[in-house]
Symmetry: C2
Subunit: 582 residues, 2 copies
């Protein structure tokens, strides 16, 4: 059932984002060669801090360890108020702390292993990526991707071509990502393998307005700004239009996606009262991001980040350009041609080849891909010192004026180069699914043993359950015919012909969130055949001609028609439903 | 576009198998702990043979290497006919050959590295699974799953419970699998990461008839039996009913799935004339399988296995039962209670505990899970020799009569235990997709520069392209309105308002398999608004009221209505389409 729920959530996601916004969709490999993740910074920096029990070797994620140890101290009645205040301050700042700062806290508060009381090691950086070897020779290192985004960055050129060179455009990818979490926990919330649905919206850094912003600008949202978090104030309700106009949200494109994220979450069935957007504080935001908001859902585990929405500026494309010397940029036609001065290095390949042999290509490539500022600096160095230093592949090469000449010249250009900025909404599908299950869990007022999930028909795992009142074989042809007609309308359904009272079987369909049930009873055998249609949330029943049922459920399931619409057309069917699930 | 095609193929697959057959669907993790794949036999045996160039270390997959080396010899005009015959015989048998047999061939034909001519090493077994470490301590070994099936076997108990203990039932899973291929090649056909859609149909070994067999028994199929392969005869056309009745196909359940596989492939758009089912020969079939048929598609790479369909008997559940001592079996109610004699071991835990200390539990568990035959053997051994040997965890333990007594007694039983057999249809989605692209590629008769894919609307990446005749801004409101209405009908579409002649833009939509195009021209601006609807395969056009278009395309896309149906209702629109793609 969870599988069908997830499939329906993803299908809605594709309709809502990929199809409605005409995004380009990609499906990149999970196995990722090391150079890609080296360029992105993941090999060097995608780590969590941990500390080990010096005797047992047990590993603890450092921030979780400190938080729970300090909260225990703060809960102790004997702890002085000033210590409590200090602890409260640390807990807020923990996310942005360095290794040394955390180590100081370990020492100051004498934090030990929570399981054994043993001493702990100093903080250790633990890279969260799973590594493996690709190919039979064992010489190619790879990782399981820790996010789906990199596949879209390295394919940027193809995507841009497919979009005929025009900005803005967005790419989307749904797939699994892997993080070797130090301590997986909380069910679907912190797992080592999870499904992401990510969007990379590539836009001109100077044109972050969004053409469809007017469609969503009046969307009311609960925004928890960085300022309010620091000042201990609560989240505030405002429209996304107000938020962008007051510069609380950095730009229209970011705001557009925030509003769309909210609309998607509400359509899936997330409770609006348990949803907020929290802005990253400067100490937790990646240094390159210019603004970042998390859609958080309130669950029994507290507020949980379910969707991140960041303006990542030009960081990612720049990183990959640097690593590969392949320019990941778009060209923008200038309103009119302009004359510019450019500084270019002219390599004397013969001399460089003779001097540097097999490194020659490295050097000439580096010279060819110099930026304007770098070229000017080299020129100055060459003129001043009589030689200059070029860096390539992590090494330095000294070049003389015989090897390279650097000239400033005038050029008429018709286009300008733009390194697109990236707005990245990233959905943690498992987390949304978990929050959704909590938000839609209901207990019947008259019987706390009877529970159900009030999932919207659009995402409910199955749309309908077909129930013969009893085992009587006379019901079979009608059931088979109805099932065939439901399949023709693409209505997913199950047939529950197991023994058990009808009340117990209703309870079972409620528990797996099936929104509609059709019961075939003895009256159904008379012509024209009729049957009852039951609504999960209200347990109300209507009596319909069997021939009307497939289309009625198809319309209800796609939410083109509501239960109330049907009530206007068909008579109520009154019968006491066994109230106990016994 | 490929991504959308794949999504549509998978969505159709879910409708066709999971929903229509009411299968249970699961979504297991890709990361798999070692014990699971140890139990399944993959850790020990999931290997390909390779040989390395002794100097460069380059690796070659042995069967591919031998095949191409021998084919080269056979192609040589100087090669004698008897050698050619021998080679032809080897090539047929290659799939089932042992390491030593292949080594003999390497030596006999003096096969060298095809790249350098250097000598090769002896054959080496190379395990095809990607391994990694799970968790921060680095002590838990895991693999990326090489197939999705194992997740369904280890979850068998849950699935059976969910099905209320009843057989038969089927589980299905769609997801990625990974094989560290020695030499990936042929585009999507041999890749290291690929999407599988697998079904495990669990049934009583004595009841392999299928309740819905009558619905498909007249399906005509091209069957290439093991006998015909050995005798050098071609595949034969027959109905699946005939094939099962003549025992060519082992049983109705296997036959049912073979027919359903064919129906699915045809619905997706595979060419019936380029599809056959090839039976595994006894030397290539896994030893536990009792029958296995591959759905093969003819491509430019030859016949390619796209779907496997095997009767795997009780092998998998038995393996996992053995490894875990957890019985993976179902209970079948007997028509009437019966009295049976059973042989049971009664462990004297005190004595065993004293003697074997921490191994005691291993031994008592092994005694508790003895099968009837094993128990009888132990009893005989104990009576004859005065002690008996119990195996657990790969070790042997000697037990004396003080430690264990083995008794035969009578019991009345109401159920019998059944280890279900498994019929496994396994779909390689990437391979089907590749074959589909070859099978649906078309060149226009009047212009070989104009090509298109004749994908069925159901799986085509996008259903519709909306084209304004020119850049004229008067078209914009109508385009926007049409796009909104198409979205409401869930019709995936793109708007191509780029510059370029209408002919060139039609060519572009044809190339990405969009089956229908709507063109807004100057006549469209008059009320009532009308537009042309163009059919990709025939390039014919009709003139429709704009308000009719969304529903018409929705019906065409879901294949509820055909183009011919529309031709009866709407007038033809005659206009020369620029025949050159220029």
């Amino acid at each position: 059932m969870g599988c069908a729920l997830k499939t329906n959530m993803l299908s809605l996601w594709r309709n809502f984002f990929v199809l409605e916004e005409q995004m380009l969709e990609v499906d990149c490999s999970i196995l990722t060669p090391e150079p890609v993740l080296k360029a992105s910074g993941h090999v060097d920096r995608f780590a969590d801090l941990m500390a080990k029990d010096v005797k047992t070797g047990e590993c603890f994620r450092l921030d979780h360890l400190i938080k729970s140890a300090l909260e225990k101290i703060a809960a102790d009645k004997k702890t002085a108020q000033n210590v409590r205040d200090e602890i409260a301050d640390i807990v807020v700042k923990l996310d942005g702390m360095t290794k040394d700062e955390m180590n100081d806290i370990l020492i100051k508060y004498k934090i030990k292993s929570p399981l054994t009381g043993n001493d702990l090691t100093e903080p250790i950086e633990f890279n969260l990526m799973f590594s493996t070897q690709i190919g039979p020779a064992g010489s190619v290192k790879g990782y399981l991707r820790p996010e789906t985004a990199q596949g879209m960055f390295v394919n940027f050129k193809r995507l841009l071509d497919f979009n005929q060179g025009r900005l803005p455009f967005a790419a989307a990818q749904i797939g699994n990502a892997f993080r070797n979490e130090i301590s997986p926990r909380s069910g679907l919330i912190r797992v080592r393998e999870f499904t992401l649905a990510e969007i990379e919206h590539f836009c001109d850094p100077k044109e972050k307005n969004h053409p469809k912003f007017d469609l969503i600008e009046n969307t009311e949202m609960m925004l928890y700004s960085a300022c309010n978090q620091m000042d201990g104030k609560p989240a505030q309700k405002m429209t996304i239009g107000e938020a962008v106009r007051s510069n609380l949200v950095a730009n229209e494109s970011l705001g557009y996606f925030m509003a769309r994220i909210q609309l998607y979450l509400l359509q899936v069935g997330i409770d609006k009262k348990r949803l907020r957007f929290r802005q990253h504080m400067s100490n937790e935001m990646a240094h390159y991001a210019c603004d970042c908001w998390d859609a958080e859902c309130l669950t029994s585990y507290g507020w949980v980040e379910c969707v991140g929405c960041a303006d990542r500026s030009a960081y990612d494309l720049t990183q990959h350009t640097r690593a590969t010397n392949v320019k990941l940029a778009a060209e923008k036609k200038l309103p009119e041609p302009k004359t510019i001065t450019v500084t270019e290095a002219q390599a004397n390949k013969a001399v460089i080849g003779k001097q540097f042999k097999k490194d020659a290509k490295l050097i000439t490539d580096a010279l060819a891909s110099l930026g304007e500022t770098e070229a000017q600096e080299l020129k100055a160095e060459l003129e001043k010192v009589g030689e200059c230093t070029v860096r390539a592949d992590g090494r330095e090469f000294k070049l003389t004026p015989e090897m390279v000449s650097i000239n400033t010249l005038s050029k008429t250009v018709h286009v300008e180069e733009v390194v697109p900025n990236v707005i990245e909404p990233a959905f943690g599908i498992g987390r949304i699914m978990y929050a959704l299950l909590e938000h839609s869990f209901r207990i019947r007022e008259d019987d706390e043993q009877r529970t159900y999930f009030s999932l919207p028909p659009l995402v409910a795992p199955l749309k309908c359950c077909v129930l013969p009142l009893s085992n009587n074989t006379d019901f079979k042809p009608l059931i088979r015919q109805l099932s065939t007609e439901l399949s023709k309308q693409n209505v997913s359904h199950k047939i529950d012909d197991s023994s058990g009272s009808i009340g117990r079987r209703y309870a079972r369909t409620d528990e797996v969130a099936i929104p509609f049930s059709v019961t075939i009873d003895f009256d159904s055998l008379n012509t024209p055949h009729t049957a009852t249609l039951r609504h999960r949330d209200t347990t109300l029943q209507l009596r319909l001609p069997v021939s009307d049922i497939p289309l009625a459920i198809c319309d209800l399931a796609s939410q083109r028609r509501s239960w109330e619409d049907l009530e206007k057309v068909y008579p109520k069917f009154e019968q006491q439903e066994a109230s106990k699930a016994s």
